[in-house]
């Protein structure tokens, strides 16, 4: 599928700032904000050079044509020499919960159209805690194939050998700026007051931790429900197998009896028509949930590591003082 793997992305600061600003202004609360990334592909790099936001879906904009908005934006941007090639999209996330069906579908359609497209996930809450959290993901080729088939039954997934770990692959991001932007940044640094950047070192973490754990618990609940469903399915299948066996045996017995009586044997009925096999539950959901749980756990662990470091530092300072 892919002739070259993309190792790295160059994202100029403009894109980063625009994404941050868009979330800040429009996306308070649980809503996600989305937008389109523009850029081009150079060698083995995907360069993202600009972006523009998507308006929110509101009820009174029922006939709002998203495609038209996009087309117009791109056309206008072309006039001012901004790269108008679609290379992906971005989305904000709430505490890291972005592995959803919707994301998968959108990313699949993007990647189907443009091979190297990525989805940039921006986590504003983690950023507000002090470290810019921007990650880029693409679907693995295996997952792409499965999505193309639209076949999410357990057998197909087993065949493709997909585990929740290789659903998304993360592409490293590199921020690269031109010299002129560097000059501008120096200007900014001189002119702007040194605001407090202390959030990173704050020791109060219980709020964030509590929230993440809550989300994790919800997901685990969903996961267990899913497992129960799968178990019932398996049980149904085995029950049905048993029933089939019984039916076959009875049939054979009857046939023997009839033969002994000299009557023609009963026609062999199609067993499958009698016993409809139960529907296997779609495995995609559980894969997604597993992937989501995995992401949550990763995030929590990272966060904890950070906090442990901070706590040890505080302890060292306290010891030093005493």
């Amino acid at each position: 599928m892919l002739k070259k793997t993309l190792y790295v992305q160059y994202t100029p600061c403009l894109v980063v700032l625009k994404i941050i600003k868009h979330y800040q202004e429009e996306g308070q609360g649980n809503e996600v904000v989305q937008g389109v990334l523009l850029g081009l592909v150079v060698d083995d790099r995907l360069e993202i050079t600009n972006c523009f936001p998507f308006p929110q879906h509101t009820e009174d904009d029922a006939d709002f044509d998203e495609v038209q908005y996009q087309m117009e934006m791109m056309r206008s941007l072309r006039h001012v020499n901004i790269d108008h090639l679609h290379v992906g999209w971005y989305q904000s996330t709430y505490y890291g919960s972005f592995v959803t069906r919707a994301l998968l579908d959108s990313q699949f359609s993007y990647q189907h159209a443009i091979e190297e497209s990525v989805v940039l996930i921006y986590d504003p809450i983690k950023t507000a805690q002090g470290s810019l959290s921007l990650k880029a993901y693409r679907l693995t080729p295996k997952l792409m194939e499965v999505c193309k088939e639209k076949d999410f039954s357990p057998e197909a997934l087993k065949k493709a050998n997909i585990a929740y770990e290789n659903m998304f692959e993360e592409v490293p991001i590199v921020i690269k700026n031109s010299y002129l932007i560097n000059v501008m940044l120096w200007e900014l640094e001189k002119k702007s007051a040194v605001a407090d950047r202390h959030e990173l070192l704050s020791l109060a973490s219980s709020n964030h931790l509590g929230k993440s754990l809550q989300l994790l618990m919800d997901r685990v609940d969903e996961m267990s429900q899913d497992i129960v469903k799968y178990n019932t399915y398996l049980r149904n299948v085995s029950k049905q197998q048993q029933q089939k066996h019984q039916y076959q045996q009875r049939r054979q017995q009857e046939n023997i009896q009839r033969q002994s009586r000299g009557e023609p044997p009963l026609p062999e009925e199609d067993i499958n028509k009698l016993f409809k096999p139960p529907q296997p539950p779609p495995r995609m959901e559980s894969l997604l949930i597993a992937g989501q749980i995995n992401t949550y756990c990763q995030n929590i662990k990272e966060f904890n590591a950070q906090n442990l470091g901070k706590l040890f530092m505080a302890q060292a300072l306290q010891d030093y003082n005493n």
Partner: protein, 367 residues
């Protein structure tokens, strides 16, 4: 596309609505940029000069950059200057009472520089529209987009259709933004600016004009904002004067963090950085605090040894700083610390457990 033609000698053909600003007579010295109202310039220059007290008070200061005090406080010699009320501009009505401050977000600057880098061949500068919101006392510029235009000796053509279209599109995303004015790259205000400015005064009430000096005059990229004011002898030919405004940079919290990260690219050789891991960030943040603390200590030493005159406001800030460290007995601190560490360890253990659980589940299902 509306084309505005200006003939350098004629001024009568531009009689538009009465009371509107008319072009200055040809040959008259261009007043705008040269008009040096001392208070705003000194206020802008002073914060750069007195770097030490400015940075010394920063760790103690929990206030946001929005408060005007950070810029005004560290210039004790220049008493808090009264708003630069040039007499004529006081007559200007509109949402700009005296002491006009333009608050600029860095995303706007990045966008301007980016469109400058992508300009068409032969274009000396780019122009575009500024969007944002108006507050009671200040104007906040949060977004912008560039507008194609052509400039030659005699005429200036601006694609206003395009500008209107883009504005409509932008409004769909952020309906609270209005057109605030326009920007241009380049280090000075030219004649064409006057005309373009007039176009924008049709769109917005009292538009702001922002110049970003991309030609790097004086080895600085100076960023200035202006408001136009009519001037001249009443009854005779009127002209336009651009009054400078103070420009302040404001950030949302997340923006601040993003900008900090991006600023690191200034230091790397090929202007490239990756996103660092969490512990590295904690390390760098503590290094920063350490630096600022050393600066504060240095300042205190200097004052003690008499090298620097003591300043009461800085002293008060230092008092606040020291009082912020809470007084806890060591045992209490130990218990708090330990319980916190235990919590974190437990959560890490649970997270690992969950991960291994789903891995197991995966394996089982694929049997």
């Amino acid at each position: 596309m509306e084309a505005i033609k200006t003939n350098s000698t004629c001024l009568s053909h531009r009689a538009k609505t009465p009371g509107a600003v008319q072009p200055r007579p040809a040959g008259a010295p261009y007043p705008g940029a040269a008009f040096a109202a001392p208070p705003p310039h000194s206020r802008e220059a002073a914060p750069a000069a007195s770097a030490l007290p400015h940075s010394a008070q920063s760790p103690a200061q929990p206030a946001r950059t929005r408060a005007a005090t950070p810029a005004a406080a560290p210039t004790p010699p220049a008493a808090p200057a009264p708003p630069p009320a040039v007499p004529l501009s006081a007559a200007l009505s509109g949402p700009f009472p005296g002491g006009r401050v333009v608050r600029l977000h860095p995303v706007v600057l990045a966008s301007i520089v980016d469109s400058f880098e992508r300009r068409n061949e032969g274009a000396a500068r780019v122009i575009g529209t500024l969007l944002g919101t108006v507050d009671k006392h200040s104007v906040e510029v949060t977004n912008c987009f560039s507008v194609p235009h052509n400039e030659s000796e005699d005429e200036v053509a601006v694609d206003m259709e395009f500008a209107k279209n883009m504005y409509e599109l932008h409004k769909k995303v952020s309906p609270s933004e209005i057109i605030l004015g326009w920007y241009a790259t380049g280090h000075d205000i030219t004649e064409h600016s006057v005309l373009i400015h007039e176009y924008y005064s049709r769109e917005a009430h009292n538009p702001i004009h922002l110049t970003v000096d991309t030609s790097l005059q004086n080895s600085r990229m100076s960023i200035k904002a202006y408001v136009s004011a009519p001037m001249g002898v009443p009854g005779k030919t009127m002209g336009v004067m651009f009054t400078p405004l103070t420009v302040k940079y404001v950030y949302y919290d997340t923006e601040r963090i993003g900008v900090d990260l991006i600023m690191k690219t200034c230091f790397s050789p090929n202007r490239v950085i990756g996103l660092s891991s969490d512990l590295q960030q904690v390390g760098s943040a503590s290094a920063r605090i350490q630096d600022t603390l050393t600066m504060v200590l240095q300042y205190a030493e200097d004052v003690l040894s008499g090298k620097v005159a003591a300043d009461n406001t800085v002293g008060r800030f230092l008092m606040d700083l020291i009082n912020q460290v809470p007084k806890i007995s060591p045992e209490d601190f130990e218990t708090m610390l330990n319980s916190n560490i235990n919590d974190l360890l437990m959560v890490t253990y649970l997270a690992n457990l969950t991960q291994s659980q789903i891995a197991l589940n995966e394996k089982l299902l694929s049997l």
